[in-house]
């Protein structure tokens, strides 16, 4: 398959990549850029483990083609971890033991980060709705919801 040249801003730095037209954003991040904080859980847009920000909006990166990101900006857990709002969330997750195996955590944090950007004081129902697409098998979610509330309050 012929490779296509794309320009993508990833975590603030511009990357020029030659990608095949069927490469997903998820695999572009994990394989071409070795940004392995973004996790692959189903590659069908059903589990949310691969959530990243595309133009500041949360997306399942497995459902986006790399070529669609030409000229756009992508933020992953590696880049977002530098931001104060994300640090608040991470600290709340750590304080409340809202992390067990940790595989869903990056995607969960990014969905929560996007929620707090558009709604700094969400109620329980709004948090649940925002995280509905992020599956977690370990925690039972309650601590995650409480951690988002705690981060919002700070």
């Amino acid at each position: 398959m012929e490779l296509i040249k794309i320009h993508v801003t990833v975590n603030g730095s511009e990357e020029i990549l030659d990608v095949s037209p069927n490469l997903s954003l998820l695999n572009m991040l994990r394989e071409n850029l070795a940004l392995t904080g973004t996790k692959s859980g189903c590659e069908a847009g059903e589990c949310g483990a691969c959530t990243v920000l595309l133009e500041r909006e949360p997306v399942n990166s497995c459902m986006v083609l790399a070529v669609e990101c030409n000229g756009l900006s992508v933020e992953t857990i590696e880049g977002l971890s530098e931001k104060e709002a994300m640090k608040k969330l991470q600290n709340a997750f750590m304080d409340l033991s809202a992390i067990q195996c940790g595989f869903c955590t990056p995607g969960m944090l990014i969905s929560a980060f996007a929620l707090l950007k558009r709604n700094p004081n969400p109620n329980d129902e709004e948090i649940r709705m925002a995280l509905l697409g992020n599956l977690c098998r370990c925690t039972g979610y309650e601590r995650i919801i409480n951690a988002v509330k705690k981060a919002a309050k700070k």
């Binding site: 709705m129 509905l132 979610y141």
Partner: protein
Amino acid sequence: MKIKEKIPDLIGSNVHRVDVQEKATGAAVFTDDVQFGRNLLFARIKRSPHPHAIIKSIDTSKAEKFPGVKAVATGVDFPKRIGLYLKDKYIFARERVRFVGEPVAGVAAISEEVAESALDLIKVEYEILPAIFHPDDAIKPDAILIHPDLGKYEVANFIFPKSGTNISNHFKVRKGNPDLVWDACTAVVSRKYYIPHIQHVPIETHVAVAKVDQTGKVTLWSSSQSPFAQRDLIAKSLGMSPSNIRVIANYVGGGFGCKAGVTMETLPIALALKVRGRPVKLRLTREEEFYTNFVRQALVIELKMGCDKDGNILALENTMYWDGGASTEYGVNIARAGGYSCTGPYDIPHVKADSYCVYTNNTIGGPYRGFGMSELHTGIEQCVDELAEEIGMDKVAFRMLNAVQKGDILATGMKMHPTGIKECIEKAAHAVDWGKPSEPCPPNKRRGKGIAIMWKAPAMPPNPGSSATIKLNEDGTILLGVGGQELGQGAFTVAVQIAAAALGVPFESVRVVGPVDTDYSPYEWQTVASRLTWSMGNAVMAAAIDTRKQIFEIVSEAWGEDTKDLEIIDGIVISKTSEREIPLKDFAVYGIPNKDFEGWIGGPIYGRGKFMPNYVTGLDKDSGQGERAVVHYTTGAQAFEIEVDLDSGKIEIIQAVSAFDVGRAINPDLVRAQMEGGIVQGISSTIFEQMIFKDGQMQNPSFVDYRIATTMDLPKRIESIIVEVPQDDGPYGARGIGEHPMVPTIAAIANAIYDAVGIRMEGPPFTSEKIFTHLKMKGTQGFQTNKR
């Protein structure tokens, strides 16, 4: 290890998990994150489309010539069977396939796409055989044999296959004689339940990467609960020494049992053996994760239970048929666990139990959080509810009367150790205002309360070992080596707490060495059975004691003092007599100089410890009797309040309360986190989850069709209560809690549904549709009561 007289402050402290910073920043390395460079090959697997068939021929010639393909493997090259308790599985199918999804051939290629394309070029000719999908059919005398050679398979000495049948284990318990007391019973309940297959659904699917170097040494990176067991089992199957196999196991993205033992890890090894020097990666798709590896076995359970007019349970007959699927190498021991724990947490004088592990052409059953106990208690705890109702006794009082207590002789002849089960029952019941009516709800809804109690012992061979190492660094910090795995349960954090507390150093100064690596980490049997806090914890404690001994010998020699007078507080060695002190960092590696530097005392300090239970006895083949069947039982209770919508059948969980006796909570917050996660996984298995099969093919292998609990499915209130009756041989009195919180959940919710609307169902999941249908049936036909 005896419990120390004084419990250090760090024990029982809610310190932060040691792994969360890495996990919150995306820095934590899981197996799929390990970088292998451009040499990496990708594997895909050709799988059986048939539930049962003879393989007449396999032609791989076209696939081998396909551009980009580097290796093709089939069962021809791998004649030895593999398995944990019963060697009944091949790496690739040989001669016949026994379930849909069974590996038949593998391809390693330069990309997943190329490998996938090459699979289509492999031609396999099958001769279809009749297939069996239900244990009831498998045990018929004229049933086709799924493993005709069962009698020739290598098997552990406590597993009893029946040659010439589809029964791969039959575990019996005979205590007293139930037939003598049925007439003395005021109430007798006979019930049959079916608990369907579910899957573990870790968010990380299985991943394994194998590399074989030019000397033949195998390195396996795998998402694994069992790196050491994998090394041993794979070595035996390949006819190699374990010393020539190295398993490296990074953080595991959820296990729940499915990453125990050996499943898909042999496949990339088989391919890597053909392309020496090149790593080969196999990552299961979500669909493959659902039905090609371990699933939770389905269970058919037939129960007969009776009690006298005062509520004393007099007798139990319990017959269990575990749907082990096409291979029962691990499942045979689930049948055994179901057998020796067949009474649930009750003192019952007359018991007859038969637990059968049965081959079918369904997908392979394996360990799943609870190891059979959730399925077993789903039956027992509903019957107990019915008995109490029949004699007009409160269901909590009934359980308080019959719950197992210290000194009781269990169904296997083992004497029960101290347990806090009654405290768990009382506290769970109290937390849902047991006995008081629920708050009023809308006219189209009904509220109900239910309780269920449980016990579970670690299910394992009698002698699973643990070990640990402690290495002091130049600055007095400590590297703790363990072979147990961090699956999310918090094992590393608890190990650090125990090490720091037992040594007398700050929590922050201890770090767990990772990833677990069979070449460098101390041995650990497997991270299963909720055994790490207890078993690995004991090994860590022993290593700390050994390290202290080495430290004290150095300091006592340098100071000319008795080792008995020395203590370590906060990383500083102090003398209780001379009040001298020296921080560990001043001598941890380089030692202590003599006066005027005339020679040195000490040297690098490296402590080690081990633990292996040495008191578990065998059980008689015909009666299940023996002095000590298991190491111990963790007990507990769950109580629910639920609301049923009569118009839709939908259940809402109003309150979900857990109370478990953990012996000693090393980290109470982590204990509660296990209870919360477990109860929600239990609720998910109660309301939503079932693998739906049609002719052996799973119909719902995706998150859309196989629904698990999301943020929208939480109870309105969750409470988790810790009870602490110390374990005599646990570190600081601790015993395990990982699996238990989902064991009583199905039964407790079933009992609450009955309380609300008066229906009982054959088995979970209690979907809206199922409840609605049962409500309709009850309305038109009248509900059948449980009279003898």
